[in-house]
């Protein structure tokens, strides 16, 4: 049987030399979560917010550290970073986190890949060692990174999450797509942006959803602030 053996041998050599720098599916997911966090920050800035970064001890930082798996917002195992987002003096401060647990309306904790929440709530959680309540979160983004098509299970899990997070605006974002997932999420009227990767139109739509979350928050406290 003739196969493009030379091509495959060459591919083996390049892969062995390190053409793929990722060692697990979770590392790939981390990269996607980081990317969506950066979209939240970029959108906040576009909406005239001032943004800076702090670690769990409240120290301003420029070298960011994120979690490799969902963890506790108050964890001091590493100097994990969150962003402080300020929309003018009359609007309560917000914080953006990557991969933290949030307490849903049922009292059960859920993993939130990227979450934006009230800064006072986050501070209290750090002081007493608790997970933030979902009603204090203004935005949660479920980030799904897959090398192949999106499994339906990812969407089912998201529907359950949305249910328990109540009024929090939640977005399902994935780098890839699947007709099944698209249909399922549309049926349940859940916000979705599939194939959301750099340069795609979906990124523009995603940022528009993020902006809406900021707008709703700011309008409640300072309607004169321009977003």
């Amino acid at each position: 049987v003739t196969v493009p053996g030379d091509l495959l041998n060459e591919l083996r050599t390049l892969l062995r030399a390190g053409a793929v720098s990722y060692t697990s599916a979770s590392a790939a997911s981390d990269a996607y979560e980081g990317f969506l966090f950066s979209l939240v920050i970029a959108t906040a800035r576009d909406c005239n917010a001032a943004v800076h970064y702090e670690n769990v001890r409240g120290v301003r930082v420029n070298d960011l550290i994120f979690r490799t798996s969902p963890g506790r917002l108050y964890s001091t195992a590493q100097d994990y970073t969150h962003a402080i987002i300020q929309f003018g003096p009359r609007t309560p401060l917000l914080e953006a986190h990557v991969g933290v647990m949030v307490q849903g309306n049922s009292g059960v904790r859920h993993e939130c890949d990227v979450v934006v929440l009230d800064s006072d709530e986050a501070r209290t959680c750090r002081q007493v060692g608790a997970s933030p309540r979902s009603r204090k979160c203004i935005l949660a983004i479920e980030c799904k990174y897959y090398l192949t098509s999106l499994p339906l299970g990812a969407a089912r899990g998201f529907a359950g999450l949305k249910d328990d997070l109540g009024q929090t605006r939640v977005i399902f974002s994935a780098n890839t797509t699947s007709d099944r997932v698209k249909k399922y999420l549309a049926h349940h009227r859940l916000t979705q942006e599939l194939q959301a990767v750099p340069g795609s139109a979906e990124i523009v739509h995603l940022r528009s959803h993020i902006r809406e979350a900021f707008k709703a928050h700011v309008s409640r406290h300072d309607p004169s602030f321009t977003i």
Binding site: R12, D30, S38, N62, L64, I65, T68, L147
Partner: protein
């Protein structure tokens, strides 16, 4: 490409991924293959007369409406079909392409987006992913490693090869 050639390529690709420690890519592909290819079929319900002991009776029979047929389906049903060999190989190649091409771009864009700001105090210098307590998961590589000329060269070479292979497979 003939079935035998596709089988040989799939086997070889799988062996390569295992030998270079990229089983996670293989597992991801196998999960997707196991769930099958989601398809929708149009069906038409026809009335058919059938002879029984008590005489003729009408019964409903569902038939597939072939794609391209002028008949309009009465119902759309969802089902799964197994991937054929060509689709399986294409899946493997595309998964590799994402791991090599898409992921580093995500990290570059993340850094670019966080680094570029008018607020000098808020400029991001580096981004790292570290395991929390009770976790041993390693994160993505450092961006500086991805931006090494050698790493860029390796990725470019691998992406070129994958493109040629994909063309061969789809011939």
């Amino acid at each position: 490409m003939e079935e035998q050639q596709l089988i040989a390529i799939e086997e070889e690709l799988r062996a390569i991924l295992v030998s270079v420690g990229l089983q996670w890519i293989l597992e991801s592909v196998d999960d997707a293959i196991a769930s099958g290819l989601s398809i929708e079929k149009g069906i038409a319900i026809r009335q058919r007369r059938r002879w029984t002991r008590s005489g003729y009776e009408n019964e409903e029979v569902a038939e597939i409406v072939e794609p391209g047929s002028r008949e309009r389906p009465q119902r759309i049903v969802a089902t799964d079909e197994p991937f054929n060999r060509q689709q399986r190989v294409s899946f493997l190649l595309s998964a590799l392409r994402r791991a090599i091409g898409e992921l580093p771009v995500l990290q570059e864009e993340t850094f670019k987006s966080l680094h570029e700001t008018d607020e000098p105090d808020a400029t991001v210098r580096s981004i790292r992913f570290l395991p929390d307590e009770n976790s041993a998961l390693s994160g993505p590589p450092a961006l500086s490693d991805l931006q090494e000329p050698r790493a860029i060269e390796l990725r470019a070479g691998a992406l070129r090869l994958l493109e040629v292979l994909a063309q061969e497979v789809n011939r």
